[in-house]
Symmetry: C2
Subunit: 499 residues, 2 copies
Amino acid sequence: MKETVQKLKEHQKQRLAYQHALGMLSYDSQTAAPKMSYVELQDTFAVLNDALYQITASPELKPMLEEILAHEDEVDHQTVREAQELYKNIERIQSIPKDEYLAYQNLQSQSEHIWANAKENNDYDAFAPVLEEIIGYERRFAKCYKPDMDPYNVMLDQYEEGLTTEILDSYFDAIRKNLVPLIQKIQKKAPFRSDFAFRSYPIYLQKEFSDYLMDVLTIDKNYCAIGETVHPFTTNFHKHDVRITTHYDENRFTSNLFSVIHEGGHALYELHTGDELMGSILATGTSMGVHESQSRFFENMIGRSKAFIHLIFPKMKSLFPEQLKDVTEEEVYRFVNQSAPSLIRIEADELTYSLHILIRYELEKRLIGGTLSVKDLPGEWNRLYREYLGVDVPSNAQGVLQDVHWAGGSFGYFPSYSIGSAYAAQIYASMEKDLNIEDTIEKGDLSPIVSWLTERIYRFGSLIKPKEVIQNCCHTEFDPRFYIDYLTKKYSALYGIDD
Amino acid sequence: MKETVQKLKEHQKQRLAYQHALGMLSYDSQTAAPKMSYVELQDTFAVLNDALYQITASPELKPMLEEILAHEDEVDHQTVREAQELYKNIERIQSIPKDEYLAYQNLQSQSEHIWANAKENNDYDAFAPVLEEIIGYERRFAKCYKPDMDPYNVMLDQYEEGLTTEILDSYFDAIRKNLVPLIQKIQKKAPFRSDFAFRSYPIYLQKEFSDYLMDVLTIDKNYCAIGETVHPFTTNFHKHDVRITTHYDENRFTSNLFSVIHEGGHALYELHTGDELMGSILATGTSMGVHESQSRFFENMIGRSKAFIHLIFPKMKSLFPEQLKDVTEEEVYRFVNQSAPSLIRIEADELTYSLHILIRYELEKRLIGGTLSVKDLPGEWNRLYREYLGVDVPSNAQGVLQDVHWAGGSFGYFPSYSIGSAYAAQIYASMEKDLNIEDTIEKGDLSPIVSWLTERIYRFGSLIKPKEVIQNCCHTEFDPRFYIDYLTKKYSALYGIDD
């Protein structure tokens, strides 16, 4: 058994090395690589993906895992969890014919470029056949993996274990019923002052601001670096190498501000996984939903709080004295919290955000379920934006083509964005019992907050599952009412709405 | 045979994919990675290096290559050259015991960090044992590979085929005899004006200047990107992905200026290798010396010419109007060409540069030959700097620890820097017969120069060897007199020296 466990650790080392290399090439291609280098990059991806496939689907692996799982009492808990995760993984891979698996990887490595071009040219028809193909693969793979389960539930479970359409239908029902009326009331109120936010904020000064924000977030730059992309994201190779990206817009400094804080939340999770997990498949956040709970916790609950704006306002004034000379702290606070229905998910405010997700949820459920065709997708997209958000979609580029996710085959991913926000609200409510959060922020040292989260979430990585995360933090089950209450309270106060 | 050739191409594809991944990880670790991430990076390197070793030393490869080389008339010339290069490579690798080979790779991946720390702390003793070990490996490997050859000649040949101590002894003899007296005469002349060069040139504006310089050099940014490192370098993954790096010093804008031009010269070579070579082991510059001839051709012969300063001066004035308000074009020209013996190779001027190389050449020849011990190296270093350059070395950090090369095991590499400069002078003399170079530069379009070089050098990649490069360009053999004449003429004119 000792030898088997040793082999299991060696297997994970091999696996991680290839994932590191592939991740690095991908990160670089999005941040530093020359624009047209992606063509030949596909050849390298193909070779390394094939090698990684050989490793993850190696015939010796399954019996090894079965041996460990049959003798759980003889090995430590971490090893059992590693074997479980690897077993799940190999079951899935082996359920799919290898040729199809690699062909799909190939397609995925091109589909994002096809999507990007289609978006740039507002040409849905150029993307539709690829999307059709992707949906086909995703549906077939789900069927191969779990023939008895609804394919969309298979996909949901992949990003957030245990999540089902049953849970989400009731979750989004509550969201819609509570938030749509509130949004409509806010629509009738006067908008907050916003002119100063669109003044010119030189990018080299914004970069200095990013550096400052990382310090405020207690991010150790020895282990976390920042890059630039159109769409910010976080990626991690191991806990000592986490990358976040941000987006600089000279005439919209809040774009960078909240990108750094959002991605910083993701980074903190990865940076604080336990040392004992290093090299293990478990050394990473446990699910998309829990990950998103951390990015949204920092972006919205911390970053958009009065206390946080109070904390960073002096630095803002010192970097941008001219741009902010006639602006008060309160005006910044109001601006970063203003709510207005809009077209683009990633620019949506905290309150309307989950309606963007709801729309994607309804659509992808039907696409996978076969009750909506790729051809009819843009029409349905536009219809729902009108219905839930009251906005007209002027072009597919600003509509159905705005997100990369479907181009990458990430069906079932979107809901975790909303669920993450809901987790965050529940976690916040629980943290407040132990800490005076606003007070902690105002003092300028966020480490008690990071420690609280490390203790209950971060250090466990994937050793614990989403349900246990909520249990650890809140000593109860997930309950979306915290999220609805939080939004209702915050936005009623902001806009002076009584009932 | 057709099948064997097919396999050969497939082999190169695999090889390049791993080299791409390893190169990417290394490039990233020097440009974008968080500072302390290199520790775990070694694990990934170890796994991928091992896999690359399996590929390059695979038992099927050698008979395949032998088959091709025994039937050269049945295959095209490119395939023959590929087989030759791969054969040379496998002969070398197989001559070394695998364990030693991988242990040395491991050592190398750490030695640069040990060197960097030693340099930072001016602590030669911390580096000496590693250097000792590296010299041991290098000497043993050379002996394994070619037992009958002088080990240092084996190393020289690796970077510049055909180069020997016999050639270099006479080459450097000529350099020393001709340049040392000239340098001494210049020492007695008044230095040029330099105050303006150390004013504050904001880095974000220097970055704009880099962009402009890449355009001037005709570098296509779709295929070449720029990064930042303390020591600039160029790396290429394939002809559609070349990376150069530069160094920004706010109070020394010429550091970036000449880094971009120097590395740009390397990049042009890689960007213009023939399309038919893509995916082949031959799709890269043929030797270090020839590569350096291109970087120095652009840095010195183009970049430090009157015509080039005239071309870029208006852009400089528009980016830095305050800093250059009292400065003339002629003063910039003189400043970038001023000569003064100094301590640091990479900051050396064009005239004294080869003496820095001469010192390294003499020392490494003796280190490898066993007539100089690692213990005595700093003393000898300092003695030679006094003798040839007339400068006193105040610390090992500014002396023997200044270069990374020995820490990476690159013995035999330094001479190619000087040989490259000498190639460049000879190539320039030949190009002038076809083109009015100064005139071409002044007109602001360097493409006739790049085309001339592409036609005779770049497009062939490693299909031709260094000797053929000089033959293609100059219709004769390498002759160092061109270099000595060029330097003598240029610097006599600059400093008004008659005889």
